[in-house]
Assembly symmetry: C2
């Protein structure tokens, strides 16, 4: 894995040679720190359509405005920037928000991982796959559905660490409801840092929890808190700030966002205010679109309408010039059945073709995000592996053209024994650990297992074989000490 | 349905208004005779890459050549056309095959259905969905897997007739192995003509069976055998001619191809010879690419490599200027589980984005084509319905932009009750008859069914409610009479 790494923050843009090496590694199923696409974006809208959407966004910002609730500081920041403020409602002159972003927000940035070989570059032609986020429940074939515990959280961190196709440890992979609400973020951040060496996400549920996340990351990243390349604090955490649709920011999330932005940590958000709090802070345009059932009002996933939104939003993010977060392996199904798979694939393929840079919810998502599935996790990770091959594109090298094989074999024979096949068969195709391609008779003899059964065996095998990544014991001790002090500082609470 | 039809052969290219109407109908889930795409093609290769592939194809045709086995007439045709013939091996000057096609093969053509409202235009921006083809087995939840019978064949013709999202009745949907090999084509063609009114495919397993297919179609299409628009015999059958990979045509398939080409019926084939047998005969470039398991040699489906081939081949067909057949809902899975669904969606989405014109295997395919699944059929048909919405693209009308809704609702409220939602909710989103989007509690109360269980109920309900499309009793009698005479003319045989 370490040999594969070409991006530890030295270069903002990967070279053509790096991209080729990554493509080769992807075809060979080897681990790469993130994907640099070699295929074009799929554009669903013309220039005219995209310009219309930007025009309408300006109209909404100007005429209707956005509410910033219970945060006088945010209101003052907007006033100082020249926005038209009436109470908590802020109106923006046409183009103002766009120019705020374009003036200072980076087009791409490095999020450092504690293993430098696993740092990720978010933005540009890169795609980073992260696990699903935020489920109160977990599901597996043995126990069905139940509330998530910290043990589940650790298990998913380990599974994401082991997955070649996932580049990121994610954030609140599931809610450890066996821990008090006001302290569980400490255990979650510790789990990411201890059981994985991939980049991770911080807590956003309160400003002091955001501050804890930054403090714990600083313990690990220690001596070199400034990025020598940018002269700014190293970005070691990326954080998910959700806007209340429609058009409203609330106090909790604004406060957490300001903590992270001031520390130069990355935020996924509808982003314009950050560049006033800390110009140049890394920010990712986020979009999470689902259709809804018009009978029940329930969200639906893997349907065609969100795919169209995804293609459109990715193009708008490119025009704006900042990284884009969307998509994943979303589904409404309660179990990892055919519905889950159709819906997940119908989301993940557009995610990749559209050019999403940070893919939250790549693996594990069930039931509209209410449950994190163990089997679903390894099934989705397998699909994410296939996306590496897709994004590596068509191999047009001499070897890829294989004209010699055609000449050697000729009409009416077969290619299995020819020199080209011999030279390429090990790395020729993506190999799924979960798809059954055996004969019907062999499959039947093995007990006719469906994919979920095979996935059940796979995640158990992976957890059994898991080995902890190395960590300096002094750092581990400092983390545990920080947690103990913070836990002792206030009583347990479930708000 | 009849009101929706705008294409019964009067126009080679649909107008912009037609496309809009079709898009509206697609969004509303109504039946349309075929899809006219409103979204761009996805192009995976640059001009340079595509030119390289054409160059290599010319090299193979020139240097290596193609075998035409046991068919002296085909060899004579090539000699007369100026090809370089050595025994059964034919070599072609660079560009010769391309120019043969481009000189006379139509860019798109109408395949007439016995219900003119259901005639399909194959080629251009159009996509036609047809059922899967060629399985010896069927599978359903009640019986598992068993050999297919003519009763299954009829059932699938009925299900395809009932599916709004399928535009075509297909061909050998499954092999009726309870009928003798040399006569079962009569019952298959009769079933398509009798139990559906959509366009269908003829028999290709022997030249006399091809002739039977043409004769039976002529009984139904009766008086008006010439297309007044083209002055040529009406194309009422489309037929699948498989090339023996690599680079070999055998006698059976050449003979069947010549029968159909002379009758001006359409062929899906690697196509160059047809334009010598009957210049102008409709021909579709076919590509069926699968990866293989390098462990076992078994074909694998829904993997990324065939998707890349699909995008590339579609672009090459457009450059050549003839319709393209590929893709579908392919999978290796034996059952309609998550593997089947991931693999099918990973094939069907590229099929649609690439711009495949004739999609064989849209519904029912299991086990690499060995089994036709009842549940899989209705699940895939549902997915094909979603593709209608995807291909209809983003609605950029005033209503689609919905700025009034934004103005009415404003920050912090919700859109469910607003005027725009009230006006649009019935047709707003594609509605899946099979996806479960209910609450977990409701789903559990219903017995926690997976998608396959729901699909099992759906196909049974559809078959129970099926109503035969009207047919002139004299035509039916003539068809039955023709079949009886042909069956009496030779003993049953299983070759």
């Amino acid at each position: 894995m370490d040999e594969q790494n070409t991006q530890t923050g030295h270069a903002r843009r990967p070279s053509g040679r790096d991209a080729k090496r990554a493509a080769r590694a992807a075809r060979a199923g080897a681990s790469i720190p993130y994907i640099t696409r070699k295929i074009p974006y799929y554009e669903v809208l013309s220039e005219e359509g995209l310009a219309l959407m930007e025009h309408n966004a300006d109209t909404i910002l100007e005429e209707i405005g956005i509410d910033f609730r219970d945060d006088p500081e945010a209101i003052e920041i907007w006033k100082a920037a020249g926005a038209d403020v009436k109470g908590e409602r802020v109106h923006f002159a046409r183009g103002m928000c766009r120019s705020l972003i374009q003036r200072t927000a980076p087009r791409e940035f490095t999020q450092h991982a504690r293993n430098p070989a696993r740092s990720v570059v978010i933005g540009g032609k890169n795609t980073v796959f992260a696990p699903a986020y935020g489920s109160p429940f977990v599901r597996n074939l043995d126990e069905g559905r139940r509330y998530a515990r910290i043990e589940d959280f650790r298990n998913f961190v380990k599974l994401a660490y082991l997955a070649n196709s996932l580049h990121h440890s994610g954030g609140t992979i599931c809610e450890p409801v066996d821990l008090p609400v006001n302290k569980r973020h400490l255990d979650m951040v510790y789990s990411h840092l201890k059981y994985s060496d991939k980049a991770f996400m911080g807590s956003v549920t309160a400003p002091e929890r955001a501050a804890d996340s930054v403090a714990m990351a600083n313990i690990v990243f220690g001596e070199e808190l400034n990025d020598p390349l940018t002269g700014r604090p190293k970005t070691t955490i990326i954080n998910l700030i959700n806007v209340n649709s429609p058009m409203t920011y609330d106090a909790t999330m604004l406060a957490a966002a300001k903590v992270y932005a001031r520390a130069n940590q990355a935020l996924i958000i509808t982003p314009f205010i950050l560049q006033l709090v800390n110009p140049g802070a890394p920010v990712v345009l986020g979009s999470f679109a689902s259709s809804i059932s018009m009978q029940s009002g329930a969200p639906t996933f893997g349907t065609p309408e969100p795919a169209l939104v995804l293609y459109s939003m990715a193009a708008l993010a490119r025009r704006l010039g900042i990284p884009f977060r969307s998509g994943g392996s979303l589904c409404a199904s309660k179990i990892p059945d055919a519905q889950a798979a159709y819906e997940s694939a119908n989301t993940l393929v557009p995610t990749c073709l559209a050019g999403v840079n940070f893919v939250l919810h790549t693996a594990g998502w069930l039931e509209g995000g209410l449950a994190m599935g163990y089997e679903k996790f390894v099934m989705d990770a397998d699909q994410a592996g296939m996306m590496h091959t897709l994004l590596a594109g068509v191999d047009l090298s001499e070897n890829g053209q294989a004209l010699d094989a055609m000449r050697e074999v000729g009409p009416g024979k077969h290619f299995l024994g020819c020199a080209h096949t011999q030279a390429n068969f090990e790395n020729a195709f993506y190999r799924s650990p979960l798809a059954d391609n055996n004969s019907y008779e062999q499959w039947e003899a093995e007990g006719s297992p469906d994919m979920t059964k095979r996935a059940n065996a796979l995640w158990k095998k992976q957890l059994a074989e898991y080995v902890l990544p190395p960590m300096d014991p002094a750092i581990d001790e400092a983390l545990l000490d920080y947690m103990a002090r913070r836990k002792a500082a206030s009583p347990d609470s479930n708000v």
